[in-house]
């Protein structure tokens, strides 16, 4: 009996001490906590308050129902899951859902291996001037906006651009690349590659240069050829980076490509190019169909959330490494 009460005393004592310590710590470091305020305000106002706005997905939202648009959320009519029902029974929803996965899936399929190959090959180039120049050039497009990239490629692929001039001179008919449903997705993949392959190459290259160089020496002494060295040392060495990048890419399969598609597409290619977020935009902001659009946005956010958290769990399990 007495020992139990004794330990109890100690634990509550400890707890009190701990609480006092925390309080003291906070008191002594008030400036540290004040520093967090601007950032916290940004997160709360522009990330957390919109979570409250997600209620619109379960309402027949009328923006004029209250004193202000936020107040209107509390005063609009509650409809439960009706918006989601409308959404999931609409065949166009499934089309944009499919487009989103197909476009981003194609991008991963075509563009994920490319920077790995180019990093390995760039690493084989011993002429440092050539190496530096090519590295500089290939990852500059990463910093161009999609509007600039659209401008550049519509200039090249336009009706009177170089490509069509060439096609016409060979006696074929000119192609409207941006209005051809059969070509448009390829165009999205290609321009995505143009923007990002160089940047991703640099990421993989950084990972390659981190590999212990004595491994290569040992392999050379053992008589391993270049190909063998790449296969047995380089690739295993950057495998964690490869897996991490792949997981990240798959995790973002639902919420990538929005800016690009928004800039590139037009009504003629909606069939193959309209993705969830562009549809949310046109339905919500364009047609002011706030509730349905928010329902679609919420669906997108939830699935994206599951994918990202899931892929992070996978990365933790496989690599013992968290994305954040």
């Amino acid at each position: 009996m007495s020992t139990i009460s004794y330990t109890k005393n100690i634990s509550t004592d400890n707890f009190k001490k701990k609480g006092k310590k925390t309080l003291n710590y906070v008191k002594n470091h008030i400036p540290l906590y004040l520093m967090l305020i601007p950032g916290l305000l940004v997160i709360i106002v522009f990330n957390f308050v919109p979570y409250f706005g997600l209620l619109i997905a379960f309402e027949d939202y009328n923006i004029f129902a209250g004193n202000n648009p936020l107040d209107a959320i509390l005063r609009s009519e509650w409809v439960g899951f009706a918006n989601f029902q409308k959404l999931f029974t609409n065949s166009y929803f499934w089309k944009v859902f499919r487009n989103t996965i197909v476009i981003n899936g194609l991008k991963i399929l075509w563009l994920f291996p490319l920077p790995i190959i180019s990093a390995i090959l760039l690493n084989e180039i011993k002429n440092s001037a050539f190496r530096r120049i090519s590295q500089t050039v290939i990852y500059m497009p990463y910093f161009f906006s999609w509007v600039i990239i659209f401008s550049i490629f519509s200039s090249i692929l336009g009706t009177y651009g170089v490509v069509n001039t060439l096609i016409a001179s060979l006696g074929f008919e000119r192609i409207s690349f941006f209005m051809e449903p059969g070509i448009f997705r390829g165009l999205l993949v290609f321009t995505e590659g143009w923007k990002t392959v160089g940047y991703n190459t640099v990421i993989f290259l950084a990972s390659i240069t981190a590999i212990d160089s004595t491994l290569y020496e040992a392999a050379r002494i053992d008589g391993a050829g270049k190909l063998r060295q790449i296969w047995n040392i380089t690739i295993p060495g950057i495998l964690p980076t490869i897996i991490l990048m792949l997981i990240l890419n798959v995790g973002h399969i639902l919420d990538s490509s929005f800016d690009q598609v928004l800039v590139f597409y037009n009504p003629i290619v909606y069939d193959v190019a309209d993705i969830i977020q562009t549809y949310v935009y046109r339905m919500g902001i364009g047609q002011m169909n706030f509730s349905l659009s928010t329902a679609l946005g919420l669906f997108n956010s939830v699935v994206a959330f599951i994918l990202i958290v899931g892929s992070n769990a996978l990365s933790k399990k496989l690599l013992n490494r968290s994305i954040w």
Binding site: L36, G39, D255
Partner: protein, 306 residues
């Protein structure tokens, strides 16, 4: 003795094919990287060439990677007769104010989080992660903006981007790697947290501050969708929106720039768009050497576990 000789022979005989595969790979590497470099470079050269070529050469598709019939009429008309310059000024304003606000917010946020003994540190980090992985969506964000009266104000472009969690974590990780002894000695000298941050930590963290400033600058300069969504007055149009609108109205704009139809003009729709594009790229290209210098460091810092 004899075994050693045998081993040496073996090594030599294996040495031949090793050399060959290395040579083949080197050749492939040069071809591949050259191709990649040209693919990145040529489209840019093409647009620059178009911007300075005469109209008939542009229209007939004779311009490749070097200007044909060099002229400056288009670029001078685009600068003086369209609203391009105004949109560049708007974008510059957004970028300068935005980078300042973002850096201040991010540094202030990163510093306390870099202190591993900060009470409640985990809580704040969880808040950051939640805001990163779950998106409130377009319409709710729009409604918040409207309620706050931020529509048609540059604050709508700056405030939501004032704290990029990714960028903040890069700064935080860098702060964590700084030698603790200097900060401790500052604390012993009686410097409080604010003074330590700005007088001691920030000067030591200049590389990461430069990197992240550039990252923010590029993202503010490239803002497109937020501006489409929140900015309505045409006098406040930012560069990317101006450029996008110009592309769709190139024909009528180029017609309006030709003042006298009886006098030969070098102006063509494609030339007009090319000029605006070149001017939009210039700031990025000008900042690029600095971006390059710090970026790789930034990428490696950022990819470390947060």
């Amino acid at each position: 003795m004899s075994t050693v000789v045998v081993k040496e022979k073996k090594l030599k005989s294996k040495g031949m094919p090793v050399d060959l595969s290395e040579k083949v790979i080197t050749v492939i590497a040069y071809i591949f990287v050259t191709l990649l470099t040209l693919i990145a470079l040529l489209p840019c050269l093409h647009v620059i060439s178009k911007a300075f070529s005469n109209g008939s050469a542009v229209i007939s598709g004779k311009v490749y990677f070097w200007p044909v019939g060099i002229q400056l009429e288009t670029i001078s008309k685009v600068v003086t007769k369209t609203n391009l310059l105004r949109s560049i000024k708007n974008s510059l304003f957004v970028t300068v104010v935005g980078v300042t606000a973002s850096m201040l917010t991010s540094i202030l946020f990163a510093y306390p989080l870099s202190k591993t003994d900060l009470k409640g540190r985990k809580f704040f980090i969880v808040i950051c992660i939640i805001s990163m992985v779950f998106n409130g969506g377009m319409v709710p964000k729009y409604i918040v903006m409207k309620t706050l009266g931020l529509l048609d104000s540059y604050l709508a472009l700056i405030l939501p981007h004032a704290l990029s969690i990714f960028n903040m974590l890069i700064i935080k990780n860098y702060f964590e790697g700084l030698p603790e002894s200097t900060m401790e000695s500052a604390a012993i000298d009686g410097a409080n947290d604010v003074i330590t941050l700005f007088k001691i930590v920030c000067p030591m963290a200049l590389p990461v501050i430069a990197t992240v400033s550039l990252l923010y600058a590029v993202s503010y300069w490239n803002i497109y969708f937020s501006a489409v969504l929140y900015i309505k007055s045409s006098s406040m149009k930012v560069l990317q929106v101006f450029l996008k609108d110009l592309i769709s109205s190139a024909l009528s704009v180029s017609d309006s720039l030709i003042t006298d139809p009886n006098v030969y003009s070098h102006i063509s729709p494609d030339g007009v768009v090319a000029c605006a594009t070149v001017l939009a790229i210039i700031p990025i290209v000008a900042l690029y050497p600095f971006i390059q210098r710090y970026m790789i460091k930034g990428i490696t810092i950022g990819s470390e576990k947060g």
